[in-house]
């Protein structure tokens, strides 16, 4: 059995809200789960379920109120630099340095991950080719279309050759051709490098194509966690040939 890359133990997260932040809004409620090594792990749920919060906690962008999160056996708070060196992030509606070109942005983030010289230039060239960004290489980021920005975001997330990759709605805003290509890149990258991927998406077709395991969140709690096949069996009696969309509707209504 594969080791767990991510171990989340009884994590709760609230945000201050109301006048002077005196009230607390519960976003994640006592969540525990393990992500095995080498899988594409879907984090699903309706809007406001806590998906992005969960990813943000694991990547140490926010800190939990209670509980612990370990990545590759190390606590994400106490060993933040080690964990950050092993992972990277691609989010939907990505924002990067607007005045810098595509290649300058990729170069900037490559340097932040300690990639220098010929290695950096080669990786940037390879990723620009992979993401079909050649004609946009010297284009300012704020002049790019939404879909092109998304491709830059995925390129940036792969520049450090991470062992753990967070994809937060990676095909958001892409046309069908690019969405299919992106899913292919994700699948091929996963197959070639055996990296662990955490994927959030609202496209259940993507889940069916990519995910080896999924977890469903609703109102900050885990309501189901299994392989897509097993989850579909649970709704088989209601629908003849259930899809992940049927599973989503069944679990989240």
């Amino acid at each position: 059995m594969a080791a767990n890359v991510i171990e989340i133990d009884s994590v709760t997260k609230t945000y201050p809200t109301g006048f002077m932040g005196r009230k607390r809004k519960l976003v994640l409620d006592n969540v525990s789960l393990n992500v095995p090594e080498g899988v594409i792990y879907g984090v699903l749920g309706p809007n406001g379920a806590g998906k992005t919060t969960l990813l943000s906690l694991i990547s140490n962008l926010i800190s939990p109120d209670s509980g612990s999160i370990r990545v590759f056996g190390r606590d994400v708070t106490r060993h933040a630099q080690y964990v950050r060196g092993m992972m990277n992030l691609c989010s939907g509606n990505p924002n990067f340095m607007w005045s810098m070109s595509v290649s300058e942005n990729l170069s900037f983030y490559a340097r932040l991950y300690g990639i220098s010289g010929a290695t950096r230039r080669r990786r940037i060239a390879d990723l620009i080719e992979l993401m079909e960004l050649g004609e946009y290489r010297n284009t300012r980021y704020d002049e790019l279309s939404t879909g092109t920005k998304q491709r830059v975001a995925l390129a940036k997330s792969l520049i450090s050759e991470p062992k753990l990759l967070f994809l937060d709605e990676p095909t958001l805003g892409l046309d069908p051709y690019m969405a299919i290509k992106m899913r292919g890149i994700i699948r091929d990258t996963h197959a070639a490098r055996g990296i662990t991927i955490l994927l959030t998406t609202h496209y259940m077709r993507e889940v069916e194509e990519l995910c080896g395991r999924v977890v469903f969140l609703r109102e900050g709690r885990v309501i189901a966690e299994d392989t897509p096949g097993e989850l579909m069996k649970k709704v088989e009696f209601k629908v003849a040939q259930p899809t992940m969309e049927d599973v989503f509707l069944e679990l989240t209504q």
Binding site: P16, S63, S91, F96, M97, W98, L112
Partner: protein
């Protein structure tokens, strides 16, 4: 960005220099004011690069991508400060040339060593001001942006940028003497016949060390709070 290394110092030198030509205050007072022009320009250039390192991320809403990278806070600050020192050195060189050509004032008349010591004090002050702004940005978000340009103006009043601190009322003088920049200005002006406080240089460096350590700790606490209440995520959306 290189334009502000040349443009603003040039404007400052011209406006202050012509004012001095009009007032004709005497050689010692000219040195007091022109050393202030140098300090203001070098300090502002240095601190802007430290504070801009975070502000560009905030304006671009790209902070989270930098925060998840394996760069520690101290490396980030040091890198920004190093860049600030390089650009501030260019500012210093530009001002030295302008002042020499236009007003026949030699910035390094007191010697290369004391001049470099004075400039090192300005760099340390630039780091301190930049760190203050970064702490304010993490704590209050973009509302603190105004501090980037206003803190140095406040320093103008109490550090004796254009006048000795001794002319200030007692309350402001006390504030002035709690700021490291005051002592570096006093040290430099001492070479031009201005009476200075004893041990100005030692006090400047000791205070600088205290402030740098103190504001680095505040920076750590501000980042921790930002992660607790979700500020970094809000500034990335």
């Amino acid at each position: 960005m290189m334009a502000d290394v040349v443009y603003w110092p040039f404007i400052a030198v011209l406006s202050i220099g012509f004012m001095l030509a009009y007032l004709n205050p005497g050689a010692r007072n000219v040195s007091v004011v022109l050393s202030g022009v140098i300090a203001m320009s070098v300090l502002q250039t240095c601190q802007l690069d430290v504070s801009y390192s975070l502000m560009f991320e905030m304006w671009s809403k790209s902070m989270k991508h930098t925060v998840v990278a394996p760069v520690s806070g101290r490396h980030y600050l040091l890198g920004a400060w190093l860049f600030g020192m390089i650009r501030a050195s260019l500012t210093f060189a530009v001002i030295a040339v302008f002042i020499r050509l236009i007003f026949k004032f030699n910035i390094a008349a007191c010697g290369v060593g004391p001049t470099l010591i004075f400039v090192s004090g300005l760099f340390l002050s630039g780091l301190i001001v930049g760190m203050i702004i970064i702490v304010l940005l993490y704590t209050f978000g973009m509302r603190a942006e105004i501090a980037t340009w206003s803190i140095v103006s406040l320093l103008l009043l109490v550090c004796g940028i254009y006048y000795p601190v001794s002319v200030l009322p007692a309350s402001l003088r006390a504030i002035g003497y709690s700021i490291p920049l005051t002592y570096f200005l006093e040290y430099y002006r001492g070479f031009y016949g201005v009476r200075v406080v004893p041990d100005a240089l030692a006090k400047g460096y000791i205070l600088s060390a205290v402030y740098i350590v103190g504001f680095y700790l505040l920076h750590y606490l501000a980042v921790r709070r930002a992660k607790r209440i979700g500020t970094i995520l809000k500034m990335s959306e």
